[in-house]
Symmetry: C2
Subunit: 87 residues, 2 copies
């Protein structure tokens, strides 16, 4: 919701890696998990945090849940950061 959650979500390297994976398009939870040496449960936990932070959205299809990047929130973070540099 707020910046607090979004910045916190971006603070974890696994979650940033997940976001990078999603640049090319949506991936299922399983496909995301296959890129990491962690259990599906852990990936699910990270996805839930990214979702709470509104950095990703999910769409359900057949037996899968696909995750995609929410770039508008990325914009908002950049906007917050931009107030730190020059006026």
């Amino acid at each position: 919701m707020g910046f607090a959650e979004t910045f916190k979500a971006l603070g974890d390297p696994v979650r940033r890696e997940i976001l990078l994976l999603l640049r090319r398009g949506q991936l299922s939870a399983g496909e995301i998990g296959s890129h990491f040496d962690m259990t599906g449960a852990t990936i699910s936990y990270h996805l839930s945090i990214l979702k709470k932070a509104d950095l990703v959205f999910e769409t359900r299809e057949k037996n899968y849940i696909y995750y995609g990047l929410n770039t508008s929130v990325v914009e908002e973070v950049m906007l917050w950061l931009s107030q730190l540099k020059g006026e």
Copy 2:
């Protein structure tokens, strides 16, 4: 040094507030601390994390240590984020 530390540093609300305080110019550790309901030791801890993340620099003068914003690292974070959106 790397993004890991920088993003982690940005993940804490107290540290983000400190960065906002520094927009207008350098402040001593004590001046920064006076804006928060925390001990100086805790503020010092947060400043050390911001320093490790290269988000702030310090300059010593007389009896004080002044902290200032390092905007170039803010730029780098924005650059990292920009790869998530578009192209």
